[in-house]
Every structure is written in structure tokens, then in C-alpha cells.
Amino acid sequence: MEYYLDNSATTPVCEQAITAMTDALVRGWGNPSSLYSKGVEAEELLSEARENVSARLGCRSEELFFTSGGTESNNIALLGTANAMRRYGRRVVISSTEHSSVDETATKLEESGFEVIRLKVDGNGRISEEDLYRAINKNTVLVSVMAVNNEVGTIQPVKEIRRAVKSAGSPAIIHCDAVQAFCKLPLLKPSALSVDLMSISSHKIHGPKGAGALYVKGGFKKDRAGVRVSPRTFGGLQESSLRPGTEPVPAIVGFGAAAKAMPNTEKIYPRIEALRDYLLSGLSAIGGITVNSPTDSLPYITNISTGVNSEPMMNFLSSRKIYVSSGSACAKGHKSYVLSRMGLSDAEISSALRISFSHLTTTEDVDMLLQGIEDGKKSIRTA
């Protein structure tokens, strides 16, 4: 048995996605751009996937553009918007705990003459509305704040951004990295949150790696007014030229099937909350553990500090086939800047673990983890 509790890093691919992908590989291998029936067949698979994902996200299918994943979606959103909007101003506002695919892209923008404001977070990892209002001015062309933080699960006040933008009289485009929130956070609908761009990814919702999407409000047409974002790669008409290149049909089809197969976000939420509460009470029974996630975080993600260095604890758990991470999987071996910006001590940061659920997580998984942490705390020597 394996006890996989690192679902914010990636998720196992669901049966429905595997079946759909196999079919796409065996039967639907045509080029969607080809005019004959083999191509049309592939194109139909593609539009079905687009229907599935957009239905799930709550947008029109013309507003959804497939990419290679969350990182590419975030890159197009930031670089594309900054480029299209540069004549309106040079200020970009993000939170200080964005995923590196937003944070490092913002650094690139700084190097090319933009002013990037990184909003501080409080001890819960949350940005303040006052800071948001203060940071956004007439020169602000882009605001990018994640829906849910990938390391601690903090839910950001994304909905507030529109009001702040309006009150400043700013032309800013609003982007939201919803990679950790898609199919997990209720009421994520882009129109309800009033954002212009939203990034999502397939492999966090039991789809394959290599597919993701960018929502663009009102769709994207080259040379036409609407949300101002410009492509970052060139050379084809695919995805309305926002993301040209022959589509990886099997990966996208898997993404569509996974989105369709995910359980109803609102309905499953109480079960995940109950599982999180079960985890928290188990942890408090062990004692000597601090919880770094806020009490109102997304229940799928729980960040704790065990008092034992993350790496030996992770290795210890891994020897029992219990899989958790020490932070974001993209940051192998590096100390978490998210936790340090939340004001945690070095000791807390170096003993942090991220436990992340999916709808497949069971109480048995949690029991094994609790037992593992308890045994690890007893047997692992500390400095």
C-alpha cells in the first residue's frame, strides 16, 4: 500500500483520463488542423475537452486556451499582459507568496522596466485589502494574486481586487493563478471572482502532466480589443494564436476527462474539511506540532512544523510509503520563502511538512501519516 498525501505536487491519473487518452492515442492521433476526417476527428476530441474543462471552470469554451500547464499559463498571463499594456503604465502588483512561475516572471518584468509591488502577507499568509488598495494606482497594468497558496492553503481575497482596481481608476488586467484551487475551492468561477485571466493545470486534478489552460475573459482574437494579452510564442493558428503549436491532443483529452470526472466541488468540500479536522486533532494528540496553515485555509492543504527536520522526516515517512513534501515540489531542497515571508522562525521552516489531500484521500491514509509522524518524532535524532 502507498499513502499518497502530496496531491498539491501532483495527483495520480484517474481511470477516465487514461481511457480517454488511450483512445486519443490509438484512434484520434490526427492533427486537429488537418482538413480531412482524421484531423476533424482529433479536432472534435479537442473541442469536447474544451467543453469539459470550461464547463467545470464556469466559463464559455471560447474563453479557454490550452497550454502546457500552469507555469506556461502564468507566463503568458504576466508577460503577455505586460507587453500588451505597457503603454498604459508600468506597475505590476502581485502577492509576495506567489508560485515561482509568477514570482520569477515578475522579476523578468522588473528587469525590462516594470515596477513590481509584492504585497506582504500576514502570519496567515494572506495579503491585506488595505495594502491592495494602496498598491494599485492609475499606472497599474496588471494585478496577479493566486486563489490558494500552494504551500499553506491560504485563500486570498481575489474578489476584492476588482474593487481596488475600480476605485483607483486603473486599467489593470487581473490575473489569478488558480492551479491549486481548480476543482477544490468552491465558487472559483472567473466571472464571480471578477478576474480577467485565470491559470489552471491538469495534473493537479488527476489529469496527465503536460496540459493546462488559461482563461481569457471574452476570448482572445488577434488584433481585436478585449482583454489585453499578447502571445509569447508565434507560428500557428492553434488556440487562436495565443498559444500556437500542434496541440498535444492526448494530454488535453486527459485533462478534459479528468475535469469531468472530478466530484462536485461544493458537495465534497465538507468531507475534506472533516478529514482535515481529523488530521488536526490527531496531530494535536501527538503534541509538539505547530500548524502553519490558517484555520480558514483550503482544507486540502495543511502545513505543519513537526520539530524534526523536514528531510529526515520525509525520508522516514517515505520508507513507509507515506508521501508528503517539505513545501513546494518545485523547490527541491530549498527553504520555503512562503513560510519565511509569513514570519515563521528558521526552526519552524526547517521542520515544515506539507500534507495535501485529494478526494481520494481516506482516513486510513491520515491514520498511517499520524502514526508515521509520531514514530518519526520518537526515533529521529535532532541536533
Binding site: N309, E311, M314, N315, K332, R381, T382
Partner: protein, 389 residues
């Protein structure tokens, strides 16, 4: 007419009556390495090994492989042709065209071991110099410092044409000096130490101490990747992974903190000596250099050496870190060595390690542990894997 590789022996030409054995080893090592490309025939004559491929293959890749075989001082691709001056005249310019076009100056070197060949060496030089000058009018002759040396070697069975030689790996053929065991961590030093001793003809066994959960699977993978780079020179290496957690925890729980490192090193040496002896090794190799860290003071080195009777080779002993790094870049292990996975958890690192450990105190500390049982237990659980060159 066929393209071959000419490999020049180094010091083994000096080995008198044992020369034949050394040459056989050299051919065996080269054959084993080159076999991944195709089958090869080998001839040995006048301190030169000629490697002849059975099929048409990428000769640059073959040269790259041969440049990592210890025992050769120089090598080059060569065109093997009939011993006929007309053919040599015709083929030389064609075969070395790219090199000659890129050069400004050249000279011709001729060697004639077949004394029945109608032209003498100086005559071949004169003749070929003229042929090349007329085919490549941009060139001029420079006998002292030429960009390209055009080599014409007339040997017993055929003639060889080749351009500049590249440097070989030097050293002695692997296996010619016996076998030794390298204590390898994931750091910069030990792979360099392994490479240096392999260069002197030692076949390698490798011993790595793993302390899960304090060290991760990735740290072990790192050791594997490092040895893979070393094995490109040394040929295959057997890696013994020793579970070391229990011993480290026992030391931590029972012994004075300032002795942790020295005690750990002593246990590593004891275990290594036993594994080494079981695998017919005549020596241990470590990557230590004097004064680098607390466990590498003269006192500490003496204290670790005193638990084993096998000789301990420390080829880096007098080297600075920068010198070691230069070698590690050359053998391409540096970038792997600096990957962040911890190979030695700080949990077991004393804050103030003893730099002048007294034998008495160290032995007293060891008496607190059931050393024999701990060592037996560790050795019983050793995992062994093969790393191919």
C-alpha cells in the same frame, strides 16, 4: 582503406618483461569500453595499439571513449592505407582537408618502420610537404610550432595518415596495479581521489555509507551518478552501500558530542577494511586532505588510521580545494557534487569537534558501544550494485 584509431602507450613501454601483460590489459580495457559501439580488432606494435572497427561508426565518439582509457598518452584517428606512395599522396590532403583548411601552418612527420619501403622518412616528409603546399596554397611550413602536424607512419602491414594527436588519459592500465576500495560520499573530493588512483592502474570498488532517513534516496542516486562519471575512466565499479544509521544513532545517544565525527570515521574505516578485504582489495582510498575539516587534522587522520591495518591512500592529501575542483571539473563530477542533497546530516555534526582526539578518550567512548555487533549488523545488510563504465 579504413579509418582506425592509433593509441600510443605511455609508461608501460618501460615495463620490461611485464610489458606484454600490461599491453594485454590495455587492449582488454579498451575493447570492453569500445564494445558498446561495435566489435573491434586490435594490433599492438611499437608502443602503439591500433583499434580497427568492424563496422562504420562515429569515430569521434570512439576517440572520446578512448581518451578516457588509462595507459595511453596520446591518440588520434588515422586513415589506414596501402603502403603505396601514390595512394598516400592522393589520400593525405583529402583525409586531413578540414584540419588543413582551418590551419595556417603545418609540418610533416614521417616514420618508417618498414625499411623496405622505397622512400626514407626524410624523403617522405619532403615529398608530402610539396604535395600539401600545392593542394593548400594558403599554408606555410613551420617546423617548430605548426598548427597541424601531418603524420605519415609506414608500418609493417599498412601505412597510416593522421593529423594532430589528442592527449590521452595517461596513467597505467586499470587492473595493472591491483584493486582498492574508495570511501565515497556525495562531495567533491572522493570522486577525484577515486579517479586519481584509478589513473595509477587500480581497479575500484566503492563503499558508500547511507543513513536513512537522515540521508535521502536522492543522495544515494547522486553517488551512483558520480561513480558513473568515474567509471568512464576506470571501467566498471562495484558499489557497496552500507546502512550506517544505527551506528550514528548509537554514537549520538551514548558518546560525547565532540567525538562524533572521529568515531564515525573510525567505524567507517573498520567496515570498509572488511568489505575491501572480502573483495580482494589491497588498500583503502579516501578523499581527505590535511587540514580541510576537523576530521582531517594530522591527529584525527592518525586516529582513524590506527583502526585499520590496510594501507590508506589519500591522493588529495597535499591539494588545495581549488586544485581538487579543477580536477573535478575536468572529469565532469563537479556539477553533480554540488547538487544540494545532503549526504551527511547535520544532526550528527558536533558543534565543536575535537581536532586533537586522544586515543584514550576515543577508545573509552567506543567502549560504550557494542562495536562488533554494530559492525556485523551493518556489514550483513550491505547492498551491492554494479556501475558500468
Amino acid at each position: 582503406m579504413k579509418e582506425v584509431i592509433l593509441l600510443k602507450n605511455g609508461e608501460i613501454a618501460l615495463k620490461g618483461l611485464n610489458r606484454r601483460t600490461f599491453e594485454d590489459m590495455l587492449v582488454k580495457n579498451t575493447r570492453r569500453r569500445l564494445n558498446s559501439l561495435c566489435n573491434w580488432q586490435f594490433h599492438i606494435a611499437q608502443s602503439t595499439v591500433t583499434a580497427i572497427p568492424d563496422e562504420e561508426i562515429d569515430m569521434d565518439e570512439a576517440v572520446e571513449i578512448c581518451s578516457k582509457v588509462f595507459g595511453f598518452v596520446a591518440l588520434s584517428k588515422a586513415l589506414s592505407v596501402e603502403k603505396d606512395m601514390d595512394i598516400i599522396r592522393e589520400q593525405t590532403g583529402e583525409y586531413l582537408k578540414d584540419e588543413l583548411l582551418a590551419a595556417k601552418t603545418f609540418k610533416v612527420n614521417a616514420r618508417r618502420s618498414d625499411k623496405k619501403f622505397p622512400l626514407t622518412s626524410p624523403e617522405i616528409c619532403m615529398e608530402m610537404g610539396g604535395v600539401i603546399l600545392s593542394a593548400f596554397p594558403h599554408l606555410s611550413v613551420d617546423v617548430h610550432n605548426p598548427d597541424v602536424i601531418v603524420n605519415i607512419e609506414v608500418r609493417d602491414n599498412s601505412a597510416f595518415i593522421h593529423g594532430n594527436q589528442i592527449k590521452g588519459a595517461g596513467g597505467m592500465p586499470i587492473g595493472s596495479a591491483g584493486k582498492a576500495a574508495i570511501l565515497i560520499s556525495g562531495g567533491i573530493d572522493s570522486p577525484v581521489a577515486a579517479w586519481m588512483m584509478a589513473k595509477r592502474g587500480l581497479q575500484l570498488e566503492a563503499i558508500h555509507f547511507a543513513s536513512p532517513p537522515y540521508t535521502s534516496e536522492r543522495a544515494e542516486k547522486k553517488v551512483y551518478d558520480l561513480l558513473k562519471k568515474v567509471a568512464a575512466y576506470s571501467g566498471r565499479i562495484r558499489l557497496h552501500v552500507v546502512p550506517f544509521t544505527r551506528i550514528q544513532e548509537e554514537i549520538k545517544d551514548k558518546c560525547p558530542e565532540e567525538l562524533f565525527t572521529i568515531l564515525m570515521r573510525r567505524y567507517m574505516m573498520r567496515i570498509s577494511e572488511r568489505i575491501a578485504a572480502d573483495n580482494d582489495c589491497g588498500a583503502l582510498i579516501t578523499g581527505e586532505s590535511v587540514g580541510q575539516v576537523a576530521s582531517q587534522t594530522l591527529y584525527a587522520l592518525a586516529c582513524t588510521d590506527s583502526v585499520v591495518s590496510m594501507p590508506v591512500f589519500r591522493p588529495l592529501i597535499g591539494m588545495d580545494k581549488n586544485e581538487v575542483i579543477t580536477v573535478s571539473r575536468k572529469i565532469d563530477t563537479f556539477d553533480i557534487s554540488v547538487l544540494p542533497f545532503e549526504d551527511c546530516c547535520t544532526v550528527f555534526t558536533p558543534k565543536h569537534p575535537r581536532t586533537k582526539p586522544k586515543a584514550y578518550y576515543v577508545e573509552q567512548a567506543e567502549n560504550l558501544l557494542d562495536s562488533d555487533a554494530l559492525i556485523d549488523e551493518a556489514i550483513a545488510s550491505v547492498r551491492t550494485l554494479m556501475i558500468n563504465g
